[in-house]
C-alpha cells in the first residue's frame, strides 16, 4: 500500500480535485450508460408487447379478409 492515510489518498498530493474530478465523471458516465440502456430496453420491450397485443386483438376482432391479410405472418415462401 502506497498511502499512509485516507486523507492523503483523497488529497492526491494537492491534485485531488483534478484526479477525483476525472474519476467521478468517468465513473458516473460509465455507470449511467448501462443503466440508460437497460431502461431504454425495458420501455422498448413494453412498447413492442403493447403493439403486438393490439395487433393480435385487432386481428381477432376483425375477421374481414383484408384485415386478416394485414397481420397474417407470411413466413412461407410464395410459390
Amino acid at each position: 500500500m502506497h498511502w499512509n492515510s485516507f486523507g492523503e489518498f483523497l488529497a492526491m498530493g494537492s491534485h485531488g480535485l483534478y484526479v477525483w474530478g476525472s474519476v467521478v465523471v468517468m465513473a458516473v458516465l460509465m455507470l449511467a450508460e448501462p443503466m440508460l440502456l437497460v431502461h431504454g430496453r425495458k420501455t422498448l420491450v413494453a412498447r413492442l408487447k403493447r403493439q403486438l397485443r393490439a395487433e393480435q386483438q385487432e386481428a381477432g376482432a376483425n375477421r374481414s379478409p383484408s384485415h386478416h391479410s394485414h397481420n397474417a405472418p407470411r413466413n412461407t415462401p410464395q410459390e
Binding site: 502506497h2 492526491m12 483534478y18 468517468m26 430496453r41
Partner: protein, 249 residues
C-alpha cells in the same frame, strides 16, 4: 433459389446472434469488473508517485484507456460500417450504430480527463494542439454519425449514409495517433515518465493495461447490449421477435 438462401443468411443472423449475445454479456461484465477493480487498485493504491508529476499523474489510468478506446472503437465501427456497405449485411450496420454512442462517450472522457490533467500539468485546460484538436474532431465525428443516423428514418438508408461518413472519417485516426510524432506539441509523446524509473514503470504499465482491458470489456458488453435493443426495434415485425415477445408473456 439462391435468393432464398441469401435471404435466409441475411435475416437469420440477427436471429441467431441475439441469444448468443445475451449469453455473452454477463461474462464481459464480470471481466470488466475484475479488470477494472484490479487496475484501479494497482493504479490508485499500489503504484508509486511519479517523479515529475506527483500524484496528479494518476489520471493516466483513466485518460489513456479512454483515449485508446475512443480511437479503437471508431476503427471497429468503421470496419463494421464498411462490411455492411460492401456486402449488405444487416447485422454489421446494427453493430456500427451500437458502437457509436460508446465511442462518443470515450472521446468525451478522453477530452475531459485530458483537460483535468492539463490544468495542473500545463497550466491550462485546453490548447489547440494537433492531438487535442484531432481528438475533438473525433468526438464531432461520432456526434455527426449519431445525428445523421437519427435524422434518417429508414434504417437501411441510415446505415449506408452513416457508413460512408464513418469511412470518410477514418483518416482522422492516424492523424490523432501520429500527431505527437508529426508535430512536436505540448502533449506527451510515447510515455515519457514511464521510462524514468523502470521499477515503478512496471506497476504503472500494469495498472494502465488492466484499466484498458476493463474499458475494452465494458465496451464489448455495452455494444452487445445496445445491439440487442437495436435488433428488437428493427426486427420487430419478424416472427422471431414476435415469438420472443410472446414467450416473455
Amino acid at each position: 433459389m439462391t435468393d432464398r438462401v441469401i435471404n435466409w443468411f441475411k435475416y437469420a443472423s440477427p436471429q441467431t446472434f441475439y441469444p448468443l449475445a445475451g449469453k455473452l454479456i454477463p461474462w464481459f461484465w464480470a471481466l470488466a469488473a475484475l479488470f477494472g477493480i484490479a487496475g484501479l487498485a494497482i493504479g490508485f493504491l499500489i503504484a508509486p508517485t511519479d517523479a515529475q508529476q506527483g500524484e496528479g499523474y494518476r489520471i493516466i489510468f483513466l485518460h489513456v484507456p479512454a483515449s485508446w478506446m475512443s480511437m479503437f472503437i471508431y476503427l471497429v465501427m468503421a470496419f463494421w460500417a464498411g462490411i455492411g456497405l460492401a456486402f449488405n449485411i444487416r447485422l454489421s450496420g446494427m453493430m456500427a450504430s451500437a458502437l457509436a454512442p460508446t465511442g462518443a462517450l470515450f472521446a468525451f472522457l478522453s477530452l475531459w480527463t485530458g483537460a483535468l490533467w492539463g490544468k495542473p500539468m500545463w497550466g491550462t485546460w485546453w490548447v489547440w494542439d494537433a492531438r487535442l484538436t484531432s481528438e475533438l474532431i473525433l468526438l464531432f465525428l461520432y456526434i455527426g454519425f449519431i445525428a445523421l443516423q437519427a435524422a434518417i428514418d429508414d434504417p437501411r438508408r441510415a446505415d449506408k449514409a452513416g457508413a460512408i461518413l464513418a469511412l470518410v472519417g477514418v483518416v482522422n485516426i492516424p492523424i490523432i495517433y501520429f500527431s505527437v510524432k508529426w508535430w512536436n506539441t505540448l502533449h506527451q509523446g510515447a510515455s515519457v515518465s514511464l521510462t524514468k524509473a523502470p521499477s515503478m514503470a512496471a506497476m504503472m504499465l500494469w495498472g494502465m493495461l488492466l484499466c484498458a482491458l476493463a474499458c475494452w470489456m465494458y465496451s464489448i458488453a455495452i455494444a452487445l447490449m445496445r445491439v440487442r435493443t437495436i435488433m428488437l426495434e428493427r426486427e420487430r415485425h419478424t416472427d422471431w421477435v414476435r415469438e420472443l415477445l410472446d414467450e416473455k408473456g
